[in-house]
């Protein structure tokens, strides 16, 4: 009888998983359901070039490999619950879909500010940026002269701050951290990047939180915990993410932070790994033996492709019954890769800088105040590198990060 793979989440990881199944010989039905109305598209430009340029879906949509042209897509439908023992998923339109194998690729959502205030909508002038629709809403508000308050100074917050300055807005950035992007990058590089943002006109309010959002129908002022009051036309809440794993509840999985898996991306349960299910993309919390055995989530753009291919290989072998144990046991140690563009600064990271010891961060090449490569060490081991410019040089460190298991 023909088999069916159900992919939940029509983002990059869902697409790459479908392509991965085909690449590994699975030829029966693939059904992808996703709650957005769009075919999978590229998210990074939403805070960068597309936000001050072309925000059309045509420009951002991923090309689908020829091998996946027969995949069935159902957009605008979400999974509401799953019964992994019965192998069924229930959708928001009431239908229950049965499957032979399942890919969970539902990604993350923007975390909202937990402070009372006007409605959390574009009309309330409170924005987030995760989807194309979010970006379209935000773009309309970023008019020259607009007073923009970015809450959160992570990569996405800093990228939008830079883009908003380019669009002629007056930009303030508020964060509880002492420097922007300090958690992944460490204080020295973070302080240098703060200086460069300030040079371009971004005003930071660091080490403070938000006490209150003032306004009835829409925000008019942001009041900080130190009493500062910022008049505003646009608030962007760029406060990190939470995982879209609610639909998997009730199945004895470890959903503490995404979905915990093994290196074959099978969900972990007390009673053992669950075969026939794979987790891909931002919600996968997997061990990477290039670094250590601790399962971690990695919200980098390189991960949907790596996990999607791995999910495809594992599930194709599971469904065919051929070589499954070998595929599961094969070593899989993806190299996390991340980039960010802010003003004329291009950051390129490899590995997991966040794993470094506090005193393990040093400039390896170049000059911190110009172009440089910063190394992140845990003990003696290089666990990550970040290039500020110097792309050719930072690229030479790709093979030097972590301790990949030698392949024979």
């Amino acid at each position: 009888m023909a088999q069916r793979v159900l992919v939940v989440g029509a983002g990059m990881a869902g697409l790459r998983s479908a392509e991965g199944l085909r690449a590994h010989g699975y030829a029966d039905e693939i059904l992808v359901v996703g709650d957005e109305s769009w075919a999978p598209y590229n998210r990074p430009p939403l805070s960068k070039e597309a936000l001050h340029g072309d925000l059309s879906h045509d420009r951002l949509v991923f090309r689908v490999r020829a091998n996946a042209s027969d995949v069935t897509w159902r957009h605008g439908v979400s999974a509401t619950s799953a019964d992994l023992a019965a192998r069924t998923v229930t959708l928001s339109d009431g239908e229950t879909v049965s499957y032979d194998a399942l890919v969970a690729a539902t990604g993350v959502s923007a975390r909202r500010l937990q402070v009372p205030g006007p409605p959390q909508t574009a009309a309330g002038r409170r924005h987030v940026i995760r989807t194309l629709d979010d970006a379209i809403g935000l773009r309309a508000a970023l008019v020259p002269g607009a007073k923009v308050v970015v809450l959160g100074a992570g990569f996405i917050g800093c990228e939008v701050a830079a883009t908003a300055v380019k669009l002629g807005c007056e930009v303030r950035c508020v964060a509880i951290d002492p420097y922007p992007m300090v958690r992944p990058l460490g204080p020295e590089l973070a302080a240098e990047l703060q200086r460069r943002h300030e040079e371009q006109g971004v005003v930071f309010h660091l080490g403070v939180g938000v006490a209150e959002l003032v306004g009835d129908h829409h925000v008019t002022d942001v009041v900080l915990t130190d009493g500062t009051r910022l008049e505003t036309d646009v608030v962007l809440e760029a406060l990190g993410s939470h995982c879209n794993s609610g639909w998997l509840e009730g199945n004895d999985l470890d959903l503490a932070d995404g979905v915990r898996t093994d290196t074959a991306l099978r969900p972990w349960r007390e009673s053992g790994m669950l075969d026939g299910v794979a987790v891909a993309g931002d919600i996968a919390r997997f061990p990477n033996l290039r670094f250590d055995e601790r399962p971690l989530r990695v919200e980098h753009w390189s991960i949907p492709t790596d996990t999607g291919r791995r999910a495809g290989a594992v599930l194709a072998a599971y469904l065919s019954g051929e070589g499954y144990d070998d595929v599961v046991a094969a070593s899989w140690e993806p190299l996390p890769s991340f980039w960010s563009d802010q003003f004329d600064i291009r950051l390129q990271s490899y590995g997991m800088p966040g794993l470094a010891d506090p005193d393990g961060i040093r400039v390896l090449e170049g000059d911190l105040h110009d172009e440089c490569v910063v190394g992140y060490h845990r003990g003696e081991e290089l666990v990550g590198v970040v290039g500020v410019g110097m792309l050719r040089v930072v690229n030479t460190y790709r093979d030097k990060v972590g301790h990949p298991t030698p392949t024979s």
């Binding site: 990074p44 090309r63 753009w301 492709t305 980039w339 792309l391 050719r392 690229n395 790709r398």
Partner: protein, 65 residues
């Protein structure tokens, strides 16, 4: 039918990830710019070029044929 690599140079930002996925076909030169070494690669390179297209952050690479 032969393969053809098409790069949208308006999009390309010289990230260089393609050069790791398919070093036979793409290169980041001394000048820091991306170069296509073989515009019509052999069929045997198809999957590598597809991989290169996948990992391009700005999705500037297309494979025709």
């Amino acid at each position: 039918m032969s393969l053809k690599v098409v790069v949208d140079w308006d999009l390309c930002q010289d990230h260089g990830q393609c050069a790791f996925a398919a070093p036979e076909v793409f290169e980041i030169g001394e000048d820091g710019r991306m170069h296509v070494l073989i515009e019509e690669p052999d069929e045997s390179l198809r999957s590598k070029v597809e991989d290169a297209a996948d990992v391009c952050p700005v999705q500037a690479i297309r494979l025709e044929g």
